[in-house]
Amino acid sequence: MNPSSVHLSPIDYSILGLYIAFVIGIGFALKRQMKTSADFFLSGRNIPAWVTGLAFLSANLGALELVGMAASGAKYGIATCHFYWVGAIPAMIFLAVFMMPFYYGSKARSVPEYLKLRFDERTRAFNSVSFAVMTIFASGISLNALAKLLNQLLGWDYNICLWVCSLIVLLYVLKGGLTSAIYTEVLQFFMIVLGFAPVVYLGLKDAGGWEAVKQKLAGVATQPAVYNLSDSASKTFQPDAWTSAWKPLLAGPSQNPMGIDLFAMVFGLGFVLSFGYWCTNFLVVQRAMAAKDMKAARNTPLVAAVPKMLFPALVILPGMIALALTATPGKEYHLPQAIISQARMNDAIASVRKSAVGHADTTSALKSLTSAADTSFNPAKVQALLHAAPGTPDATLAIEIQDAVVNDYDGVILSLVKRYCPTGLLGLALTALLASFMSGMAGNVTAFNTVWTYDLYQAYIAPNKSDEYYYWMGRVITVVGIVLSIGAAYFASMWTNAMDIIQLVFAFVNAPLFATFLLGMFWSRTTGTGAFIGLLAGTAASAIFHACTISAGNLPGVKGGYIHAFWTLPSDMAQNFWLASFAFIVCFVVTVALSLSTRRTKSDEELTGLVYSLTPRQTVEQAWFARPGTIGIVLLAVCVLLNYLFW
């Protein structure tokens, strides 16, 4: 068991138990309301906007997001906020103002069903199959990460974690369907905010406040290699690289820790990827579609946008605090690293001395050290080690070798929890983490069972059956979905490389999606053939782009460039964002070109309610300030203000 793991007291367990009892209890309490398949899959469409809004946000807020954002906060600093302030918020506003009328008004029961109504079965089939597969894998990845984390932190058995967590989610989703998932997601939202806020507060206090954090990060920015944030000892950034959101970005890829340029950030992330996710992913859109009326449906993403804007303080700030603490002597805190055991340390020391004596180059020394210590190292520090080794005693060398181990960014949030949480608060924070995993998993399972039952089973396998039959199928597939997620989790734990490939394929599929929806909703001339071929072309374009580019420091293979690296991008993120941009543009162009050269298969009447120009403008029953458009503008303005404040 990990020696630095944490001990839970009965009080902590009672908090955990209380939470579990409540989520299962909610599921059972809702069982009475589940009478038809519409109740089970669509919540009967009678949920208020504040509930669907918070569920919308919470379904996305899986633990990978929590863990990942803190990790990125340490690695990239405040630039991570772009994911929210440039990416998510504008996309959510766009969804609310422009797209929800079509999703909700078309009476489509899912996103793929909208595609069927707008285009034809081909696009729907492609979308539903790819979505169903992706969402199960996403669920499995989350589950695997959770079980690993609990195993690492608490010493709990990996298998037990996996099965018990799955069982809990299964119970409440099986009983209460989408309503259960949505209600527990709201509970989980509050759990996450109230569970982590004290940790962030304590961390900020410990670090001396925001100004002190900024000051320490300025020091880090000028010598990132010291903190294993750069592979090159001579690399230096401007002092505000970790604390200014825009200036380092505008200065170019070599001037910001993320290694990206403005176009890739704004178009690739801000537009293509964010809008692609928030506007087309059924996981979140399903929550908006469960709202009680059109007004509530349109307000759902807007309700979600408000806390989303403030989330950086909860999820990204901890990462920055952790880095600032590492850079503050006397705080006895270091960004988490794999700890080299005594036995391996002896091998590691031997390896370094051997490389030094043999005048080995950094690359081979690195290779030998990595296999001796079974962990990864910062090349800059290894190089320094080689020079220092001859005159350094073993004890000191051991410390320096440990210092050269790469940072485990994913461990940041937990390291802060361990540092600040006494018994009681510890139980709360861990339960919050568990809650975030569950909300993600339940979201995936409910989206999966709906798409399976309506878009695959009812559409292609067994149409025209009774509603009871589909309700029954929905429950069966919920169980199947959970079992498949567990399978995917085991797969992820055993074959990490295969998993990387699978996630890559998902990225290819997601990248062009938004182009198809955009053209479908706003251009009545888009035809079914145009949309389908465009989508395929966009997906293929992603794969080709990936095969022909690589990011700096990576070898051809899973990271790309296996045909030939025509273009080397400064970082993984840059490659990601440019890939998305390229795929979007290809999909857009091909869809337009093919639509113009093929006949429309649907008449204007059939497309009413599905396309902007063919849908009568809604009669305004609301006061002007309550309209989604107005609220959207206000939220956008606040977002711009936030960007300005952290410029």
């Binding site: 309490a29 109230l194 018994t423 009681g424």
Partner: protein
């Protein structure tokens, strides 16, 4: 509508708040917390959660009576 989610949320957080309050009262401020001055975070946060739970519960009851 059936179940108003504010009831279970309110109940859960009120109970959680009480657990933390109790922990805070019995174990006192934790000197190992590395914050100066030492704060009894369980006590404070327990009170906050309890209040939150009560407010949620209260709004559910008001909503029901309307």
């Amino acid at each position: 509508m059936g179940l108003d989610i504010r009831f279970p949320i309110g109940m859960m957080f009120a109970l959680l708040g009480l657990i933390l309050l109790g922990t805070g009262l019995f174990t006192g401020a934790d000197a190992a917390l590395r914050i100066t001055p030492v704060i009894n975070i369980n006590l404070i946060w327990g009170a906050v959660l309890f209040l939150f739970g009560i407010v949620m519960w209260g709004s559910a009851i008001l909503g029901k009576n309307r």
